[in-house]
């Protein structure tokens, strides 16, 4: 199953990932960084399994992330 790994600490809250995949990403009202909705915290990262059909939009999110903290594993 494909998954997203998010190194959240370095997020600058640009909102690009939310625009590409609003079902998976949301800006936190707590600290303004992006939350990977429904993810599990693993050490410094947040990990979430996604469906095949969600890969494309999340690859766009990874491509447009200005700090390159979104990684997609297929």
């Amino acid at each position: 199953m494909p998954k997203i790994v998010h190194y959240r600490n370095k997020c600058i809250g640009c909102n690009s990932c939310v625009e590409h995949s609003p079902n998976n990403w949301k800006i936190s009202s707590n600290d303004g960084k992006s939350d990977l909705i429904g993810s599990v915290k693993k050490k410094d990262t947040f990990v979430k399994k996604i469906r095949e059909d969600e890969i494309v939009e999340n690859e766009l999110a990874a491509r447009d992330c200005p700090v390159k903290i979104i990684h997609i594993f297929k």
């Binding site: 600058i12 809250g13 640009c14 909102n15 690009s16 303004g32 992330c65 200005p66 700090v67």
Partner: protein
């Protein structure tokens, strides 16, 4: 001349913060979380750091300015308000903003506002408009000295006051990086990497070398200097008297991403220059000395004068990265400091030392300590040389602390 000018230093880390205070800065500016122009920086302060920074600065009688000066989107507003509230509660002297959202919220909670250079204020009407919100404005870096003078004169004539009821203060950048675009108007990094310079995520691709190729023929044009978009750094040490005479109140030093020794050197030079102007001792010899000092720390070569001395096309860097004449080499860490005898004990975990070496010690509480090794004891015996992995003690005039870093300063071969 008795006018005093405020020297404002960048504080991107606790090391730089202490370096700025020890070097005599009157104020510091810094960002927390991500809504500031160094959001990408590795060691950004957090909300928890804010109170600590303010406490350290208050103790040392240094003003604190919090940068909150990026472009803001709707999704940033909650965080922006939170940062303003925290700033207000922590007793920060002022916030530096450029987005109207931040200005109007800060005003609504009675937080002092300074206008960022990101707002590129370039004329008196703009000053008048922003005076509704701000007590100090940072003018655009691209103005000439004459334009600055005229703006200050008109502020006085028209009695343009900020919310505090005092004449609007004028702040300018006196030293550090210049941008190829007018500050706040560059979209190169956003256009190429979706990393917005105006959100503190600039990838500085303007700093690289470029080729110009004719697509039709494939011919490459010969470009004299491939660094066609990388300006040299601003240096005004040679005419700070003119800036003071023009009515500038605050000298701002660029470089929240720079090392503590950069902050230390640059603050000392500009503080010294401002003092020399006020007591009539500003001289050619002193200027030459300060320039030599400034060349030792990070620089892309200096554009002496910047836009302030006329609108000729900027000077281009010609090289990637720093052209500092010295470099620092990490050799070890502090293990202990014996206050009574002013002796430091060091573990050389990364390199060797020799008598006569010029050294630098940096730490989050220490800031920056410079020195020279006169005599040293290596593994309990007198020695002129200390190899890697040995334990060394030698005299250090100022207090250093366990885990502070020890560097050797060497002349750079290429410089």
């Amino acid at each position: 001349m008795t006018k005093t000018v405020e020297i404002m230093a960048p504080a991107g880390s606790y090391e730089s913060l202490h370096a700025a205070i020890n070097a005599g800065a009157d104020s510091v500016y810094f960002g927390i979380e991500q809504l500031n122009m160094r959001a990408r920086a590795a060691n950004n302060f957090t909300t928890e750091d804010l109170k600590k920074i303010v406490a350290i600065c208050k103790k040392n009688n240094v003003k604190t300015y919090l940068t909150l000066n990026t472009i803001m989107y709707d999704h940033d507003l909650t965080l922006m308000k939170k940062i303003c509230d925290t700033a207000k509660n922590s007793g920060v002297s002022a916030v530096i903003c450029s987005d109207i959202a931040a200005m109007s919220y800060a005003k609504s909670i009675g937080l002092e506002i300074h206008l960022s250079t990101q707002a590129n204020i370039s004329n008196i009407e703009a000053v008048k408009f922003y005076a509704q919100f701000a007590d100090v404005v940072v003018l655009a870096r691209e103005l000439t000295l004459q334009q600055i003078k005229t703006i200050v004169k008109e502020i006085k004539e028209k009695k343009i006051c900020g919310p505090k009821g005092k004449l609007i203060g004028i702040e300018v950048f006196v030293h550090g990086a210049l941008c190829v675009a007018v500050s706040g108007k560059c979209y190169m990094s956003l256009g190429t990497y979706n990393a917005s310079a105006n959100r503190g995520a600039c990838l500085q691709n303007c700093r690289r070398s470029y080729k110009v190729i004719d697509e039709e023929t494939g011919d490459e044009l010969l470009v004299d200097n491939k660094y066609i978009m990388s300006p040299k750094d601003l240096c005004t040490i040679g005419f700070v008297d003119k800036l003071i005479e023009a009515g500038v109140n605050v000298f701002k030093i660029e470089g929240r991403g720079r090392a503590p020794e950069y902050v230390d050197t640059v603050v000392r030079c500009y503080k010294g220059a401002a003092e020399a102007v006020s007591n009539g001792k500003y001289s050619k010899e002193k200027i030459d000395h300060w320039i030599t000092q400034l060349e030792k720390v990070f620089n892309r070569g200096f554009w002496h004068g910047g836009y302030y001395l006329g609108k000729k096309l900027g000077e281009w860097s010609g090289e990637y990265g720093s052209q500092a004449t010295t470099e620092k080499i990490f050799v070890g860490v502090v293990q202990n400091y014996f206050k009574k005898n002013k002796v430091g004990q060091f573990l050389l975990e990364a390199g060797s030392l020799q008598e006569g070496n010029t050294i630098l010690i940096t730490g989050p509480t220490t800031g920056v300590v410079n020195g020279k090794i006169e005599k040293m004891i290596v593994n309990d015996e007198k020695s002129e040389v200390a190899e890697k992995n040995s334990v060394v003690t030698f005299k250090v005039d100022k207090q250093v602390r366990p885990n502070d870093k020890l560097f050797v300063i060497k002349e750079k071969k290429s410089a």
